[in-house]
Amino acid sequence: MRRYGIRKTIRSVATIGIAGAASLFAYSSAFAAFGQPGGVTDEARDMHNLYLVTLAIAAVVFLAVQGALIYIIIRYRRGKREDMPAQIHGSNIVEFIWVGIPVAIVLALFTYTVIVLNTVERGADEDDMSVHVQGFQFGWEFTYSMDNLGPERSEAGSDEEFSIVGAGLDSPELVIPVDERVEFQLQSDDVIHSFYVVDFLYKLDLVPGRDNRFAVTPRETGVYQGYCAELCGVDHALMRFTVRVVEQDEFDDWVEEMRGGGEEAVSGASDTTSAVREP
């Protein structure tokens, strides 16, 4: 095409080219592992699918625009030409097209967003199991009450409760049964915290003065890492916890053990938790 001044141009293009390619490479190599964990609850799986669709759209938009950019700056570099290019001031048709396409994408993605949002935000049924989560500076207290342990286990009218507490590096463990819908009732009396379980792909804030709750149905047993995701003071970084999802009969045994153990079970529980590490 243009033969003159190529060396100098190449050097400049190389600067952008290499850096552009580096970021492109980072983007695409990351793509394979562009790693949101798959999610271990019904809700998380829906959200993960939405994520994958969004990622695909994002990748297309990114590659199209970045590709066009790189193509244009290589194709239309000046070299030694001194002629003026045609003075194009714009084009209404083109403007309409590039308003229209994003609008279409956005509407489609928004529709899908609302569908997933509705399932995720569905909430719990009357007799679903629930756990009370109290956040404080800098730890967690998970309280189970016997009249709220789901249709099979609940002892209506019972006011028996047990809790698991842990703070700082002695992070507590929350235990729930697999394949059962569990509601988390989040509460804080000091500052705002946020209950974040990575593999649930979900977090919800604990706001003083608010009654925030959400429900999930875990589908895979295992131990999952949780964090406080809202800056809450000096030891915010240490406000970690784990969630252990177990088979249902294992959960029943655990409940019995906790009920029998009373206070001891509480401290016993935190002992086991500190032994458990990430999955």
Partner: protein, 539 residues
């Protein structure tokens, strides 16, 4: 018409320092703004390097948890309130009167006041490090009730930000009046340079949003010092109220932080593509649309509070991508079939388009509410912040620097050093911030002083290396600046063959800017003068 001669500047001897301290000349004030803000860029950058040093490895104890909270809070506060927001006022001060063919801003003394409010505010904010309990440490977002617990450094921070708000509000009114009233003959609104348009929309946002922040800060101050109950649910207040009011300001504020940058890029790209900006009017309307929509999306920062209307704010946030897309496409359209030279300003322009694109797209991930449930308050958001603010705004700052340096200081920055600066910065930047996406998806919360997960170490280490590389990239820049100042002022009026009025006067311009104004018949008066044959077709 302006007829005052430039050489008269030295006619009466006033000590140079006093002259700078008492000046009401928009150009000098603009330069003062640029010095001030670049200083705080360095300060904020050094704080960032402390953050990165702490996070380089797991379970690090380079700084204490408490110190860490102060450091990242002050990093963001310096970068946002003392660097990126006022830096646009700096460019605007220098350029807006020149670009519209005026002698000065509408209110030169108020202009001086806008600037002189900054140094005390900067000192107050950083004085926090000296008081008991340390500086502000609740993040730049100062969420209540946490912000109630901080020491008196937080009060200093509040006062400082209020002062900065006053500065930016009166500055905004000044810019608006200047652009409405002081344009040269022939310069209709739709012939104003795009940079002026973006400054105008920014000024509207500042005028309407900043006072709301002042109200929020006032309430926080009352709660902290006079037993107020605004944000305390136990006495009838509302903990979420702070977030609503804060983000009502701070979302528009992120456009305050980017729009003038987009304006700068829109000056640079046409010049070095030798074509007019593709779709000038579409660009102006897109800027207005972003400004307008910007007021209706604030709660996308609050999706996980359980207290906002999710679908509404999600939808409005989605919509903002459309006018932003128009701009990106217009830049591409400008370069398309152009005649592109890769000068340093242009490299930063292209870098902006490329990197801001990534930042914008990952912002869209957060607009998808169920995805935000996962990535909110993780490093994914930190990646977003820096791709838009560094990959966008900071790129534009440097692009503008290289582009207008010959005009402002009469000398040119060395091109080779500039290319090293750009290249190192681009690589360092991507190395520093790209891994944060992955960390965030993998669940690393933001604002944590330390972590124990060994799986996060490699990516964090890479990020730290990248951030130091950004620091290294500043060396060629600084050398270029020093070298330039050691050379004589040898730049012609219009070294780049540019389009807008500021290139029609000497470099640097005389005190009253223009000895003679070129005729304005389109948004590219200088182009028209250079190429009478090609003139017209504009607005």
């Amino acid at each position: 018409m302006a007829t005052v001669a430039a050489p008269g500047t030295q006619a009466y001897a006033r000590p140079a320092l006093l002259d700078w301290l008492t000046t009401v000349d928009h150009k000098k004030l603009g330069i003062l703004y640029l010095y001030f803000t670049m200083f705080f860029f360095a300060v904020g950058g050094i704080l960032a390097l402390l953050v990165r040093t702490q996070l380089a490895v797991a379970d690090s104890s380079f700084v204490s948890n408490n110190a860490y909270n102060q450091i990242f809070t002050m990093h963001a506060s310096a970068m946002l309130f003392l660097f990126i927001i006022p830096v646009w006022a700096g460019f605007g001060n220098y350029l807006v009167p020149l670009q519209i063919g005026a002698a000065d801003m509408a209110f030169p003394r108020i202009n001086a006041l806008s600037f002189w409010l900054l140094p005390p505010a900067g000192i107050l904010m950083f004085a926090g490090f000296l008081v008991e309990g340390g500086s502000a440490n609740a993040g730049w977002t100062a969420y209540s009730p946490l912000a109630q617990q901080s020491g008196s450094g937080m009060d200093l921070w509040i006062i400082s930000v209020i002062i900065l708000g006053v500065s930016s509000t009166i500055g905004a009114a000044n810019f608006m009046v200047t652009m409405f009233r002081m344009r040269a003959p022939g310069m209709t609104m739709f012939r104003m340079p795009i940079f002026c348009w973006t400054m105008l929309v920014t000024a509207v946002l500042q005028l309407l949003a900043t006072p709301v922040l002042a109200a929020a800060l006032t309430m926080l101050f009352i709660d902290r010092n006079f037993g107020g109950a605004f944000f305390d649910p136990n006495t009838g207040g509302n903990a979420i109220l702070w977030q609503n009011i804060f983000w009502f300001y701070s979302h528009p504020a992120v456009y305050i932080m980017i729009l003038p940058g987009m304006g700068i890029i829109s000056e640079i790209i046409p010049v070095f593509s030798r074509k007019p900006l593709f779709g000038y009017k579409a660009f102006v309307f897109a800027t207005m649309a972003i400004g307008g929509l910007g007021f209706s999306v604030w709660a996308h920062h609050m999706f996980t509070t359980g207290a906002v209307l999710l679908p509404f704010f999600s939808f409005m946030t989605f919509l903002i991508g459309v006018p932003t897309g128009v701009k990106i496409f217009n830049w591409l359209g400008t370069m398309w079939r152009g005649s592109i030279t890769f000068t340093t300003p242009m490299l930063f322009g292209i870098g902006f388009v490329s990197m801001f694109l990534i930042g914008g797209i990952n912002g869209m991930f957060s607009a998808v509410v169920p995805i935000d449930f996962a990535i909110h308050d993780t490093y994914f958001v930190v990646a977003h912040i820096h791709y838009v603010l560094f990959g966008g705004s900071v790129m534009a700052v440097f692009g503008g620097f290289y582009y207008w340096f010959p005009k402002i200081w009469g000398r040119k920055l060395n091109e080779t050093l500039g290319k090293w600066h750009f290249g190192l910065m681009l690589i360092g930047f991507n190395l520093a911030f790209f891994p944060m996406h992955l960390l965030g998806l993998d669940g690393m919360p933001r604002r944590i002083a330390t972590y124990s997960e060994s799986g996060w170490e490699a990516l964090n280490f890479a990020s730290t290396v990248g951030s130091f590389l950004i620091g290294v990239s500043m060396i060629p820049f600084l050398i270029a600046v020093v070298a330039a100042f050691m050379r004589p002022k040898d730049q012609p009026d219009d070294p780049w063959e540019a389009n807008t009025l500021e290139w029609g006067t000497t470099s640097p311009p005389p005190v009253y800017n223009f000895d003679e104004l070129p005729e304005v018949r389109s948004e590219r008066p200088l182009f028209d003068r250079r190429h009478p044959d090609l003139a017209g077709g504009g607005h």
